[in-house]
Symmetry: C2
Subunit: 259 residues, 2 copies
């Protein structure tokens, strides 16, 4: 493997930029992952690894994992610790870094009208987005429909998802109400969650067949435009907490969809 | 109201110390809250506010809330922005700060043997602890039993709980298996969650009457000692995600307890 020992190497500067900039990620269709687990997870998918970086120590300590990742990568480099420190966003990167291509983007036509989907509208916190997708995968949800959310390819989203965002079917739409309307025409049941206690209780709602449930923004909930094409659903609450947070509401909603 | 304009004022130095140090909080039985919402929430409970601080701007902008908090506080001070900056741990403190007494600590005998409780064993992330307690309150769980967890009086825990930790009945124990054994003798059903798919499915478990469900540490789960006095429960999973995170597992578990 070739080595990179300089923090001003162009490849390192590029990786740092991809990690930091959502617009650069979108422009180049490249995203950055760090950590043994995420780098191994991405190597297990069909996603193309453009460049892999390993510190000497990481390569020595986890050679079989590193070789597995290296075999899937177009280019691989050994890097010094100072170069790793330049790229690291966390304290536990373990000396593994990858630049990957996001060429497997799905569209509305890939949605299975008989499947169960979670739709996230304007979810802005990458920790929520990641945690919801992790739970979606664990519970066997078919996919996620994202609209106006934070960047799912950001290092924070990817980290919170613990690899789920590399495997879960994700569809992005710029017009959620329109997408939902078309899915409704295909026979899917459309629900949107609300703390409003006059809405239908989630336990009394029909979750058979194809279903989409919408979770809204952390502070403002689902938009009126989206409510207008969905049936409102609520998780009955008893205490004084004003509402469940977005990821908890999503967990309970997905659980009821799959139960 | 008296004013404090110096960042080296003893009361300010004390507040900063309480916010930063778990051992100081334990020693003095005092904790620190910041933000309009948490300060208002604590004023709505029976918890004693020792000292309240408001920036001039905060007092002017939210005078009725500030007066309400001031009326419940032993001492109140107006502070300059530089003093506020010294105390702030977040960007959204809104100029409201309180030092409060934690004298309402409950013990095992306060547990209602006919109620539903969540027990948290070695949950170390304050964001998880807070989020789980917020969900517990929202779903109407009677209380939380904590053992070996991070400090529930830390600013991070309090913030994540959005006020729930000020209202939820919380019992701490240093010997969870012993506490559980005694609760079992009083007729409570004892469950502990595990990703082990050979455990009983949560949907097929009897949640009638008094119940305690244990959620374990984020990385290591429930301890063997605690498993030895509980029935193992699992949330059936379908995807490749290795497990649900602790707060998501807790949300689904509490939902099933209350469903």
């Amino acid at each position: 493997m070739n080595r990179i020992d300089s923090v001003s190497n162009e490849k390192i500067k590029y990786a740092v930029k991809i990690a930091a900039s959502s617009s650069k990620r979108k422009e180049d269709k490249i995203f950055f992952l760090e950590g043994l687990r995420l780098c191994r997870d991405v190597a297990l998918t069909g996603i193309k690894i453009k460049t892999a970086f390993f510190t000497d120590k990481a390569y020595e300590k986890n050679q079989s994992d590193a070789d597995f990742i290296k075999d899937k990568a177009e280019n691989s480099f050994l890097i010094s610790q100072s170069v790793a420190d330049k790229m690291s966003l966390t304290e536990n990167s373990q000396g593994f870094y990858c630049l990957c291509e996001y060429s497997w983007v799905l569209s509305e036509k890939d949605i299975d009208a008989k499947g169960k989907y979670i739709a996230l509208e304007n979810v802005r916190d990458p920790a929520n987005l990641g945690a919801i997708c992790r739970t979606a995968e664990a519970l066997g949800i078919k996919g996620a429909i994202l609209s106006g959310c934070c960047d799912r390819f950001s290092p924070k989203s990817q980290r919170a998802a613990m690899g789920s965002l590399l495997r879960l079917a994700v569809v992005e739409t710029e017009n959620l109400p329109e997408t939902l309307r078309r899915l409704g025409e295909k026979g899917m049941k459309l629900y949107a969650t609300t703390p409003d206690e006059n809405a239908a209780q989630i336990t009394k709602s029909d979750m058979n067949g194809g279903v989409v449930c919408v979770i809204g923004n952390e502070a403002n909930g689902v938009t009126d435009e989206t409510f207008s094409v969905c049936k409102k659903l609520t998780i009955p609450m008893k205490g004084r907490a004003e509402s469940l947070n977005a990821s908890m509401a999503a967990a309970i909603t997905m659980w009821e969809m799959m139960r």
